[in-house]
C-alpha cells in the first residue's frame, strides 16, 4: 500500500518544483517591470485562462488524492467497513492506557483504533523509529474518535499525542507500542 513516506515524497517534489517556478517568475517579473516595454496591456484572455487553471488545480487536487491516497476513501467510508482487528485505547491525565503492553498486528490487517479521552482534547498518532509520521487523528472528550488503518509493512511503531494538551502533555509517548508481525 502507498504509505505516508511515499505521499510526502511526492508532495515534496511537487511543492519544490512549484516554489522554484514561482521564485523564477517573480524574479523575472521584478526585472522586467523596471525595463521599458511595449505598450501592451495584459490581455483578458490570459486572465481568464489563469482563472480556469486555478479552478482545475483546486478541484483536481482533491480528486487525484482521492484516487491515489488509499486512506482517504477508507476514512470517509469507515463506518461501513469491518476491521480485522480492533483496539480500544483510553487517554486520561496525559496518559495512554493500552489494552496490552504491546499491540500486535498481523501484516496486511485492517485495524480500527477507538480512542477515548476522559478529560482533555488530545491527539493520537503513530510514528516510525525515525520519527516520521504514519497517521494521526484528534481525540475529543465526549466523542467517538476512531480510525481505520491497513498495516502492510513489518515495522514497529510508537504512539504519540499529536495535539497540545498543556505543558504536561509533552511526554505523551509510548515507545515501540505497536508491532506489525507476519
Amino acid at each position: 500500500m502507498v504509505d505516508s513516506t511515499m505521499v510526502l515524497a511526492g508532495q515534496t517534489i511537487a511543492y519544490t518544483l512549484y516554489v522554484i517556478v514561482i521564485l523564477a517568475l517573480m524574479a523575472w517579473f521584478a526585472y522586467k517591470i523596471t525595463r521599458a516595454g511595449k505598450e501592451s496591456p495584459v490581455k483578458p484572455s490570459l486572465f481568464y485562462s489563469f482563472v480556469a487553471l486555478l479552478v482545475v488545480i483546486g478541484v483536481s487536487l482533491h480528486i487525484v488524492t482521492h484516487e491515489t491516497i488509499p486512506w482517504k476513501p477508507l476514512d470517509l467510508n469507515r463506518a461501513d467497513i469491518t476491521a480485522d482487528a480492533e483496539f480500544n485505547i483510553v487517554i486520561a491525565d496525559h496518559q495512554f492506557t493500552l489494552p496490552s503492553d504491546k499491540l500486535i498486528i498481523k501484516q496486511g490487517q485492517l485495524v480500527r483504533f477507538n480512542v477515548e479521552s476522559k478529560d482533555l482534547t488530545y491527539g493520537f498518532g503513530l510514528f516510525r523509529a525515525d520519527n516520521s509520521m504514519v497517521f494521526q487523528m484528534q481525540v475529543l472528550p465526549g466523542h467517538k474518535n476512531d480510525i481505520l488503518w491497513k498495516f502492510d509493512r513489518l515495522e514497529t511503531y510508537s504512539i504519540r499525542s499529536t495535539e497540545y494538551s498543556g505543558w504536561k502533555g509533552i511526554n505523551m509517548i509510548v515507545r515501540d507500542a505497536i508491532d506489525v508481525v507476519q
Partner: protein, 540 residues
Amino acid sequence: MTLIQTFLRGEKGLFKAESLTPMQKLALRFVVVGLIYYGFVVFEGVIMRIYEIQPFSYVTHEQFFAILTAHPLVGIFGSTYAIVFGAFLFLVPFLMKKPLWSIKLANWTLWLTTIGTLTFWLAGFVSHYSPLYTLYWPLPADFTQFSVLGGTFFILGVALVMVGTLFFVLNIFKTITYTPEGWEKQPGCALIKSALGLTGLSNLFTRKKQEHLVSLPVAAVARGTVDMAFNAIIITFTGVLILIYMVAALFGENLQHSLIDALLYKNWFWWGLDLIADGLVLIFVAGTWYLLATLITGKKLFMENIARAALFVEMVVSWTVWSHHLMSDQAQPGILKILSGEMVTAFELITQGLAFFITLATLWSARPLKMTPPLKFLLGGLLGFALAVPAGIMQADLGLNRILHNTQWVVGPHVHVAVLVGLSMTLYSAIYFLLPILTNGAKLYSEKLANIHFWAHLIGGIGMGAFMGMAGLHGMLRRTLYFNGEFNTYMILAGLCGALLLLAFLVFFINIVMTVGLNGVIGIFSPAKIKTKDLLPKTE
C-alpha cells in the same frame, strides 16, 4: 548633520512632530505601537527557535508554552491589528474625502488594544497561562495545569482588545456612511450597500446598473471589517464562557467541563477564529495590494469589476471554510470536511490567485517602474502569498491532512510564510509608501538599510518556513518539544533564518528612528498642536 544629531532630530531635521494633524499623529501612534509589539514577537520567536534546538534552563517548559501562546496573539492583535487600524482609520477617510467619524473613538481603539495586549502578554508571562490561541475545550479551564487568576487576566486582556476592535468596526462603518457637518446629506444606505458589495451583486441581475459609491480599497476595508466584527463577537463570547468557569473556580466551585460539547465548541471557535486567517487578512491584503498598485503606478486597476466581485466572494468564502481545521476530527461530519474543508477552501486559491494576477497586471501596465522600497516590499508580499496559499490548499485535503495536521509543515510554509512574508511585507510596503504622507515629507534615512531590511526579511521568512516545512514532512510536530535533537539540522537552519528576521527588524527600526529622530518619536505621542479634523495640514 552628525550621527547623534540625526538620531535626535531625524534625517536632515525634516520631520517636525508639531506640524502633524491629530489624524496623522493617531495613525503614527498606531504604527509605533504595532512595531514595538512586532519587536516583542520577533524576540519571542528567536527564543522559541533556540529552544526548539535545545531547551535551556532559563526558560521552563511552562514558560515556553506561555510564550507560544502569547506569540501569535501579540503578533495578530498587538502588532498587525494596530498597524491595520492605524492605516485604515487614516485611509478610509482619505479615500472617502471626509473626516474620520470619531477621533476620540479611534484613540479608545488605540489604547484598548495596546493595554489589552500588554495585559494578556503579562498574564501569560507571570502566570504561564498557556492554552494556546486554539483554546481547545476544556484546556483553557484546566486549572490543574493553569492558574485561575492568571487565566482571568489573560482573558480580560483579550476582551479589551476585542472591545477596541468593535470600536474600530463602528468607526469605519460610520465614517463610510455619516454626513459631516455642513455637508449635503449622504446616502448612507446606498454607501453601505456599495461598500459591502450588494450594489455589485444587484447589478448582475438588473439592466439599470448602479454606480459604485465607494472606491475598491474602501470596499475591501469594509468587507474585511465585517469579518473582524464577527470574529470579535465569537472571541468575546468564548472568552465570557471561559470566564464563567474561572469566576466559579475563584469562588471554589468547579463547573463540569462536559457541560460544553468539545466538538461544537471547536466548530464555533474555529468559525470565528478562521475569519482572521482566511477572512479579513486575505481581504485586507488584497485591498492593500490594489491600493498600492494603483498608487505606485498611477494607473487604473486591471479588471476592477472582477476584483470587486472577488472580494465579495472572498468574504462569503471566509464564512464557510472553517472545517478545514477539523479534518482530523473523526466526529466531524464527512460532508462538512469535503464541502467546507476541501471544496470551499479551494476557492481561496482562486480568489487569492485573482488578486495576485490583477495586482501584477496593473504593475505591468505601467512599465518601466522604479524599484522603490514600497514596490519591492509589495512584490515580496505577493510572493509570500503565492507560496503560502498553495501550501494551505495542500493541507486542506483529507488525504494529506492525515499526515500533515499539527506538523511543522502547517506552521512553516503555510502560516509563517503567509504572515511573515505575505502579510508583513505588504504592511511594510504600505508603511514605506505612507511614511512621507504621514510625516509631512520626512525623508527615509537610508535606502541601503531599506534594502538590507528587504533581503534579510525575505530570505529569513522564506527560509524559516522552508526548513520548518522540511521538518514537518519528516514528522516533526508543532506545539511540542523534542529533547534528543531529533530534528536539529532543520531547527538550526530555521533558527539561522529566524536570526535574519531579527536582523531585518533591527535594521528597519534603526532606519525609521533615524528618519524621524528620537525627538520625533516622542513628539508623535505629545498632544497635537494643530486643532483640525482634516487629515493633512493645509498647504499655504
